[in-house]
Amino acid sequence: MIVTLLFAAFFLMMLVGVPIGAALGLAGAAAIGLANADSQWFGLLAVPQNFYAGLGKYPLLAIPMFVLVGSIFDRSGVALRLVNFAIAMVGRGPGMLPVVVVAVAMLMGGISGSGPATAAAVGGVMIAAMTRSGYPPAFSAGVVGAAASIDILIPPSIAFIVYSVLVPGVSVPAIFAAGMLPGLLVGLALMVPAVWLSRKYHFGQQEALLPKPPFWASLREASWGLAAPVLILGGMRAGWFTPTEAAVVAVFYGLFVGMVIYRSIRVRDLFHILRESGELSAIILLVVALAGIFAYSLSTLGIVDPLTQAIVNSGLGEYGVLALLILMLTVVGMFLDGISIFLIFVPLLLPIVNFYHWDPVWFGVLLTLMVALGQFTPPIAVNLMVTCRIAGVRMEETVRWVIWLLAALFCVLLLVIIFPSIALWLPTRLGY
């Protein structure tokens, strides 16, 4: 009864637009109070304790630092230079700009690690350029929205950091490494329908007439941006830095590039950069802390076990349950961002993972793929909302293009389910 009430109140509040954190915190506190009606203060002293404990974790410090990295690199003009270099590399021709979009989104994901941020950064540069080259805006919006969803897969991903804090035994470097190959695979998979559709409908005919940037000059310009993921990921691999330290090194590297090399960041921009990234981090961290209260209430009410039992005994079998999860998380991914989904669902799903002896690292990658799928599924997808706004199209117009890109991502999802080693090979190889 309490449980039904808890979930009903929680979902209702979320749907009417109460901030996710507040819905989690209030529902959690109500459940704790109802379950401990006889104790002193209704056991509610656990609320601030869990809030404080949920936040006071050193690994979480990586979140504000990576948000800061993203903010600095978004401002530094790296994206534009990466676009130039990518064009110099793949050349000009019908269907080449979509390839560039996907490649640049992947590289930006290797720097900043937040999804809709990349949608805005890449979309701001590319959608206008694609329109001038003869791609319909709806198509461009779809491609950019899909490409940006790779971001939560390619390290450093903030959603992965949250996952590793939630799941015991999953280290940040391990899950980062696990996301690498599936992320690249998704990138390649998205390029296929993007190029095929462009060729089929003769998009981008004017593209071949545009000048091609000189290869070496654009490589030199882009090399500062290209070095960033190497620094972040290589530094962690070599054992020089922890993830938090890698982020902070990238912060100062990005500031050096932006202020000294490209001269696109001025000293007084620092205030805005620090304020914006601080506020964005706080928004994420508050949800993390308040989800701690919710998770505690789930464990005191003891509903996770019966729920797990009901699911594993439902006769669906291992793959039936997996299919159900894909369906559910894709739908949830349409409404919510990856971090909130992890915070709400990982505590509920972990016992199922343990029951079937699924590898938690593999499951983390799978979960992220499902969320990525939701992030550009019309009609309410997060990333598409951003790119449609930039392109000035309605989301319904993108459906006929996006459907192919969704199919491509879904294929990768199936591959990772059938061959878990796509995700697990690299972390095993690197010895995490």
Binding site: V16, G17, A120, E245, R275, E276, E279, L280, V382
Partner: protein, 191 residues
């Protein structure tokens, strides 16, 4: 031709707070963030400056930690405790500004559709729930701080009284609750 001018105006494309579900904050041109900021009675500059200082400190301390470790083979463990404390302060202080600006992560699909009256009602309801939560947190955490104080708890890392850290939770929770109330009032006025 050395660079292609893809976006026309150069490199300062689009960067605003782009959290999911915040399409209203995604203009095509880079706006002056101050221009469309929420107008509050208590200036948001307070939180903004604190955010900038704490964020800068966090980056500097962590960076110095890396340098010191590499050049002297020592690590100062006490920074870890202090950094975690700063992060909690950041979450609450910058969180307070984000509440006043109504930038929390939320599902906008239903809340931002329908008649303006309905949108306003739902926005006020959301603000009220945030105020309720943080007022409760402030009250309950006062008791937690009192316990820390009464039993003389000390922090595990540096060994200073725990209440020096925990006292900020009720104080800043109060601030957030008041910011949420302010938002509730402002959204009511805009009729």
């Amino acid at each position: 031709m050395r660079t292609l001018h893809l976006s026309g105006s150069g490199v300062h494309f689009l960067f605003v707070m782009h959290l999911p579900h915040e399409p209203t904050h995604l203009p095509i041109d880079v706006p002056d963030p101050a221009a469309q900021d929420e107008v509050t009675v208590v200036p948001l500059k307070i939180e903004d400056w604190l955010t900038v200082i704490v964020m800068g400190l966090l980056a500097l301390i962590t960076f110095l930690n890396v340098l010191v470790r590499y050049f002297t083979d020592q690590s100062f463990a006490w920074t870890e405790e202090f950094s975690v404390f700063l992060m909690i302060v950041l979450a609450l202080v910058a969180g307070s500004a984000s509440v006043a600006r109504n930038r929390q992560i939320r599902i906008e699909f239903f809340a931002d559709s329908g008649s303006p009256a309905r949108q306003r009602r739902l926005a006020r309801f959301g603000a009220l729930m945030v105020a309720l939560l943080f007022a409760m947190l402030a009250a309950l955490s006062t008791r937690m701080v009192y316990d820390d104080f009464q039993y003389g708890e000390t922090s595990p890392g540096i060994g200073i009284p725990q209440w020096w850290y925990s006292m900020w939770l009720p104080i800043l929770s109060c601030a957030i609750a008041l910011r949420a109330l302010g938002l509730f009032i402002r959204r009511g006025r805009r009729a």
